[in-house]
Symmetry: C2
Subunit: 518 residues, 2 copies
Amino acid sequence: MSDGKQQKQGGAPQTAITPTREQNYAEWYQQVVRAADLAENSPVRGCMVIKPWGYAIWENMQRALDRMFKETGHRNAYFPLFIPLSFLQKEADHVEGFAKECAVVTHHRLKPGPDGKLIPDGELEEPLIVRPTSETIIGATFAKWVQSYRDLPLLINQWANVVRWEMRTRLFLRTAEFLWQEGHTAHATEAEAVDETMKMLRVYETFAQEWMAMPVICGEKTEGERFPGAVRTYCIEAMMQDRKALQAGTSHFLGQNFAKASGIQFQSKDGVQEHAWTTSWGVSTRLIGGMIMTHADDDGLVLPPRLAPAHVVILPVIQKPEMAEQVLGWCRALAKELSSVSFAGEPVRVEIDDRDIRGGEKAWTWIKRGVPIRLEVGPRDIEADSVFCARRDRGHKEKSAVKRGDFVGGVAALLQEIQDGLLARAVAHRSANTRSIDTEAEFKAWFAAPAVAEGQPTPMHAGFAMTHFCGDPAIEERIKDELGVTVRCIPIDGDAEPGTCPFSGRPSARRVVWAKSY
Amino acid sequence: MSDGKQQKQGGAPQTAITPTREQNYAEWYQQVVRAADLAENSPVRGCMVIKPWGYAIWENMQRALDRMFKETGHRNAYFPLFIPLSFLQKEADHVEGFAKECAVVTHHRLKPGPDGKLIPDGELEEPLIVRPTSETIIGATFAKWVQSYRDLPLLINQWANVVRWEMRTRLFLRTAEFLWQEGHTAHATEAEAVDETMKMLRVYETFAQEWMAMPVICGEKTEGERFPGAVRTYCIEAMMQDRKALQAGTSHFLGQNFAKASGIQFQSKDGVQEHAWTTSWGVSTRLIGGMIMTHADDDGLVLPPRLAPAHVVILPVIQKPEMAEQVLGWCRALAKELSSVSFAGEPVRVEIDDRDIRGGEKAWTWIKRGVPIRLEVGPRDIEADSVFCARRDRGHKEKSAVKRGDFVGGVAALLQEIQDGLLARAVAHRSANTRSIDTEAEFKAWFAAPAVAEGQPTPMHAGFAMTHFCGDPAIEERIKDELGVTVRCIPIDGDAEPGTCPFSGRPSARRVVWAKSY
């Protein structure tokens, strides 16, 4: 990793990240994560270390989501990390879905082995699974908490770590351990549980669009992509810059499946013993991967202001040591003043980078970290009572002098302008790469073509095909095998224009979203 | 569990919690946790479920501590849940300390066994330990992050779950899984690492006293109670109402032990390759147990206002249904007004309990949950523009009418008065049960005596003996065996008056704190 900017080579455009998105998207992603100091692989297979800058983004996501969960009546609680094997087995589809990728605790201490090295000892009577998700253990608890219809609805959320033993991992997008929240609710009626499922899907949609500046399509999953044990799974799907889809959050209507498996029963108003209706819903640190692949560019991370750990970074320009105190004093006063301004309900977050390194290297640190606004402040700016301002959503050379008072007065509006601009750009990208396709031939041609521009080693993918589908799982399976393309979701918004499935000729209620996906 | 108040029986004083503290302290504790809806045992051995009211207290603790950590320059990050066995073994004392109580992951999937039931499959080449603490895995990461003295100090904190396979568990006080924070820092010099160790000990002291209203003694642990692998362990020790000591937080100076084990090296200003000096420090959900045992009474939990999920609960008194809207409307307006008042830097937190149940039962819910202030509001109060106010730190029958405006204007001061009063009461309790003891005979008599008042089935313990000690581990071991009493800490504050160890006759630098402990 270079500390600063790549040098111009053979006339190619300069970029801070090598390779560029066009050269090798997967490797570009890893290099952005690295250059922005977000996370790294750990010595433990598949587990990541989330570094302070990456974790600060997660904290901002958590704070915004947690507020939305509480405003919709949910309360946080905490349930055990371990799930007894017998609990996982209570719901047949559920255990089937997770059996192949779970960490199993079999012993509870260590003892010296024959060669003196420590080996597992104290075998457990029943193995414990490190939670891949908590429906079964929370269900067992809900069964104790719920007696009467008066105890419903029960609206609980948990912030936790979970483990799914993935063989191929990628920082944030797919890791053996990840951080997430899992909402679990129980209701007296099917209708209330369905309402809850949709309400939380909409909370995710709002968060994705308003905080992450990432447009999403809300829809239902087909059977093959359904959560193990769910009756219906809903999701938000986003298009990444390489035109692949990312499932960014899911909300499951679980019917009475888990209530029956766990014995969540209540006495209704009429005195009848009934099973509750449950839901679960979650988003994870995967969102950080989605944010990167939606906004970052060939110079590194681009942060939507609402999630940025720092909104503004001040870079003091000190040519002569004797100027240091004056410049730093002015910068500190400016930082304090900016912190008293409110953006999106929180104080503007400001950092001052007073490290004793070259100005260019310093600026590139923050470009690669994606901070929305950079301010260079030197003696001449102070004399003119102005700051030299650059926006991360514009070219790195585009800078302009702004009067200090104007900048302070306009900083919240500027941050919102950047936030809105990022969303608009992502919406435009998705529109440009979404196509209504009505024949199998066109569908195949679009997805099969190596959509490679001249000299691009990495093919960019086709995009979203809006194509009718009869719903036959065998057809979906075949297309997945042939083209690596799946139904990302059956949208729940927009016109449900009926038509004909081009793969079967059978009727279709509406176009669905087909794409390659992460 | 009774929903309300115990009925008077045989003239005994009424209490909401049965048994009382005097009758059976250990059982009283469990019943307070239960009556306040804080936590419960889970189906997983030794693991607890933290219920919403308990978790909300933890969130308040987290928020206050997190702010203090950030104000002292620390940043949050996240490290893997699993620690490869070989990592744990890098520091000899460390693995020795944790080998007997760790959850061991040996397999990464499940397969159907001979009888069709699932059994562990996919044995790992190297077993993974579910972190009991993270010095070794964080040390391995720090070794990559630290190259030069410019990378130091490295000041990191992690909020996480950890697992220590305790055989005898007690909600909050000792559980197999618990939530905590663990700070991990690396420094260029021994002096800086020692400073950090002490600084974070003082952060814990401030938190305990100002937020929890729990007085603590800051001191150093003796060798026998030192953290496995540490050079010196410092702690905050509090006296519970049964006069036993609770270790409420620890801060470890690790010297270069873990830096050497993990290879945390840096190039000094002089170009010399050196090992870093590290520290670690942590507090956990155990603090909730300490808060309970410091303040709760025979009617249930008593919350220090700064940690209360609700500062004020409004109990609408609605005798006739037709009054409901007027009363509730008035209560909602009052709640809104109170929320605009600031207490300890945050908005006053208000709940309205509009459940359709008896007024007595309703009030007792909140008494048992420990809410600092209860307001009863009925039509007559509204007519008089006043509220009927009760404080949780006073007897439950002690209520007074206060003009609405006076209450709103004075609520922050009242909460601070309650906060201060709880601390003063706890300080007085500790003073009354701390004794300077200078002879072995008196020491033994004090600790051996079953300090039972007439008719008390549960002996209350003696308290803190301030007694000289020469530091001989054999003596400490003997006293522990004979009396169940240990050195809780060697205080670092107050007069270090030299004297003579009554157990050995040898010189002693200062009195130390002896007590029975949790």
